[in-house]
């Protein structure tokens, strides 16, 4: 084949461009550290990366939900533990007053203590998380209970949140189930705790009213299931916390697996690229040198 100087020049330019292109690509890979920098680098893996990315975002969101749910449940736990203490105090008080008292001062004292305990109970069931009453169900912008009557101003709807794909977790305990012993699924007991306090307060009597030992006995009998009712709620809350904790770990594990998939696709093999870069640079330098040398040769120099 007849070869002209222009052909050599064209070939040189073409090959130098190809070499530059390969070097440029290697440089992009090394500096970005990623195999895929745009969808066209590998459309099929891009699809997988995006899919995995969506899933990872979902896991992040579930874990964000779980963190919020946990602080909600920790608030609930604090309140419930407080209520449990109140129940213990009520029980120990009633241990000493189990048949009433003939001392007006003692009666008045017990009466006052019981009223105070009931107030504490109501304060605790009115605990707020942010501006929400955590025991108020879905009607949680007003206090669920007041100290004048025992009606529940909230709603029996339990709050559910999503903690994994299509997995929801109930995070709230409603005041009616907890203190009035009404509602089902779940039910912690059937004791109207606030009424029990009222009964005790009435039965103990006060400075002027004598105790009613029979009524005390009846009311004290309700204290035991009332305590258990609070205790059940504490247990339910704790087991929910354990469940979301586990789910959070599971989400992390799943996310790690996905991260690994992303890493396998995206992380460049620096050693391999380094070797490739060396080879390409050698080839590129050689082509530059060859071009420089060959393009100077002409018959003109010898005539």
């Amino acid at each position: 084949m007849r070869v002209t100087a222009n052909m050599s020049a064209d070939t040189s330019v073409y090959n130098i461009m190809q070499g530059r292109r390969r070097l440029d690509r290697l440089q992009e890979l090394i500096t970005s550290g990623q195999n895929i920098n745009r969808p066209s680098d590998n459309p099929i893996s891009s699809r997988l990366l995006l899919d995995v990315g969506d899933k990872m975002k979902a896991f992040d969101q579930y874990n964000a939900n779980i963190i919020k749910a946990k602080s909600w449940m920790q608030f609930s736990d604090t309140a419930l533990t407080g209520m449990n203490d109140v129940m213990q105090q009520a029980r120990s008080l009633m241990n000493t007053m189990n048949s009433g008292s003939t001392e007006p001062n003692e009666r008045q004292n017990a009466h006052n203590q019981l009223i105070e305990l009931k107030k504490q109970m109501i304060d605790m069931v009115n605990t707020q998380y942010g501006d929400q009453y955590i025991f108020g169900g879905a009607d949680n912008l007003v206090p669920p209970f007041n100290s004048t009557d025992n009606t529940f101003a909230g709603d029996g709807t339990e709050r559910q949140i999503e903690i994994a794909s299509n997995t929801t977790q109930t995070i709230s305990i409603t005041g009616d189930r907890l203190l009035l012993g009404i509602g089902a699924n779940p039910s912690y007991g059937t004791t109207n705790i606030l009424q029990t306090f009222d009964d005790l307060i009435a039965a103990v009597g006060d400075a002027t009213t004598p105790s009613d030992p029979a009524a005390i006995t009846t009311a004290v009998q309700s204290l035991e299931p009332a305590s258990r009712q609070i205790f059940n709620a504490i247990n339910t809350n704790l087991s929910r916390m354990t469940r979301v904790d586990n789910m959070s770990k599971l989400n992390d594990i799943n996310k790690n697996t996905l991260s690994e998939i992303v890493g396998n696709i995206q992380n460049v093999d620096m050693v391999k690229l380094g070797v490739q870069l060396n080879t390409e640079m050698n080839a590129f330098e050689a082509s530059l040198s060859a071009t420089a040398k060959l393009s100077q040769m002409s018959l003109l120099d010898f005539l």
Binding site: T4, M7, P39, S40, P43, S46, D51, Y62, L141, I161
Partner: protein, 464 residues
Amino acid sequence: MGLSAAMEIGKNGLNIYRVATEVTGENIANVNTPGYSRQRVLLETAPPTTANGFPMGTGVRIATVERYYDALLQQQLVNAATTLGYDTAKSSTLQQLEPAFNEITNDGIGAAISKFFGSWQDLTVNPSGTAERQSVITNAQILTDNFQMISRTLDDSITMQNDSLVPMVDSINATLKDIAQLNGQIKTTELVAGNANETRDRRDQLVRDLSQKIGITFTENSDGTTDIKFADGGAALVTGDTAGVFSLDKITDPNSFAVQLTPAGAVPPAVGVNPTTGQLGATLALRDTIIPAYQAQVDALATTITTQVNTQHTAGFDLNGDPGIALFDPTATNAATFGLNPAIVNTTQIAASSSALLTGDNVNAQLMTKLQSQKLMAGGTLTLNSYFDGLVSKIGLDVASSKNTVSQDEAFSKQLTSLRESNSGVSLDEELSNLIMYQRSYQASAKLITTATEMMDTVIGMIR
């Protein structure tokens, strides 16, 4: 025959080698001229005489000055240029679009969808929270921005393709006119004398240039002219020295010009044509098919999100206990008009509850978050995110394959250009050695004349 015959041969030689040197000079001067084909002087013996009693030549003469030209190669170059023109135009436009869909390194629509539904997840934890409600509105706005950005990018690209038709058609018309003119010149020149080599080179170069823009077929006629026909439909673009004219119908649809053609020799009105090859074909395909297909997918996503989110939102109740109103503008018909409902002015209007009475209920927000995992797209086979991921992957695939095609086309064109260069390109070394050869021949012819002169002197001396 006498000494004068020998001098005549010498004189011819001088003339002819001077011409040969000129041709070499022309070749050397045009070594870098695009489309130039090297020329050579074809020498032949001058007609013999029998004056000596036997036939003997009367020296050398120039049969012709011809160019090295391979018609088959020209045909292949023309075809390759059309393919390269189409693929390059398509590839460069697609590569301009790709960054808008580069969800891998930047957050785009896909991330915005996830964040929008993520904000509804946050709302399920605190359905009456103002911050959470604000976050829903903000993320809806971000989603809007993303849709509009992509939609604008695609729209701009379509407009750009349409606008680029004007200079492209002008340039095609100018080339057609030039080819027709050159055809006329070639015909006239060659009627008078020899080959119009340079004019033919220029014309052939224009034919190759033209073939990048539109698909053509050409026929070389015996009178030196080249007739050109349109590959898409076969209309005559150049016949002899008359050229056809492309025009654009800008009236019927100002946003989408229609290409028309008045064939060579035909009288207006122009007829509509449908170019499918070359740069022109690629521009039309991008404008009418390829980009609108992407746009349709983005639009489908935008309208599905609008209807589905609105349906769920209107099923719930806001913080005031009123039924939810459409969250996204219900009049939106595509991604460009996608947006937050202007009637949503307050965070209390986000409908998280499924009950008019219960402000702390999160059931509607929960149902809203479920939309993200529901297969709402492509006839119930894909989720919103995976539908968009599919579009990104499709664009990636289109870009990758067009890049591959272009590099193949380039390699093929390079091969053909090399072949043409090998056949028609000027080699300086070759020309230089020819130059020496002609110089020697010139010197020899001169020597012939000197010798004949000396012989003549001898004869004249005898007379004296």
